[in-house]
Symmetry: C2
Subunit: 143 residues, 2 copies
DNA sequence: CATTCTGTAACACCACTTGTTACGCAATGA
DNA sequence: TCATTGCGTAACAAGTGGTGTTACAGAATG
């Protein structure tokens, strides 16, 4: 089905960056994400525009956290990546004046709005520090 | 963003078919949906496989409802169109053994599962007869 | 002033829905 | 019997959106 791995990737890399503490270059982050430095710049750039990370060019530059993990919610990352609805209702617009089409669309829009509200509630209540804690517990359990 | 107008289109056309009562050809349904007969056959075919509509070939053939509107939920139509998750979590799989990636994915999967549960609850509680009633009230109000 | 970074444009690729053409098969009815 | 009607399906192009990649400009450092 549909996929947009950006949110998952950003959560992943933000936690790593915070745990590592210092500055990371796009090159190194790309290795963490098993991808390309340009993709990293593109995606982290959106987070920088929302004050989650900061970037510096030139020698010794790279990316660093602009907030601590407990100040960043999953919702904030999502919003930085995409300002639109998270779960847009897929409506039809074949005959916009048709009452049946409108009623069908209205049902879908209302349902998606409720589902998105639930998702936003959870995203907004989850900080990245919780993810970091869960990860460290898992790692400890495996060690 | 993402779009998959099939569900909206099927709700639309099912209500119309029920209101019209008789048999409709792919050609006429395509006109309702402002699309192509082949697309109609493709999509209605999935509903036929789940007992929502029935099709007959040959002269005088076409499509007819196999159930009444109050026996069909939005959820049933959705399931007929796609058996998988409605709101799959977009996870990453760059480093499957990385605890941080796993923890990030787990958060997303859990959140999406809750949102989908809410969506399924609403879809399952909404029958097409409710859409038909809403559409007729709208039409009446406009007339 | 060379090096090391980010910033960004440009393009190909992949996956998926949609639109379209073409053709096969079944059922009807003269 | 046979032409007509309508579904069933394969095949292919188009549009969309994230991803991967190359190339190059700009800025900061030492």
């Amino acid at each position: 089905m549909r996929s947009d791995g950006r949110l998952a990737r950003m959560l992943h890399v933000l936690v790593h960056m915070a745990l590592l503490g210092g500055r990371e270059t796009s090159e190194r982050i790309a290795e963490m994400l098993n991808t390309n430095p340009v993709v990293v710049r593109r995606t982290l750039g959106a987070l920088r525009d929302h004050g989650i990370v900061a970037s510096e060019g030139g020698r010794g530059g790279g990316w660093r956290m602009a907030k601590s993990l407990d100040e960043i919610t999953v919702l904030a990352v999502q919003r930085a990546l995409d300002g639109g609805p998270i779960l847009p209702a897929a409506t039809s617009s074949d005959h916009p004046s048709c009452p049946v089409e409108r009623a069908s669309n209205a049902v879908l829009v209302a349902a998606h709005a409720e589902a998105e509200a639930r998702l936003v509630e959870i995203y907004g209540a989850t900080t990245l520090s919780e993810i970091a804690r869960a990860a460290m517990e898992t790692a400890k359990g495996q060690a």
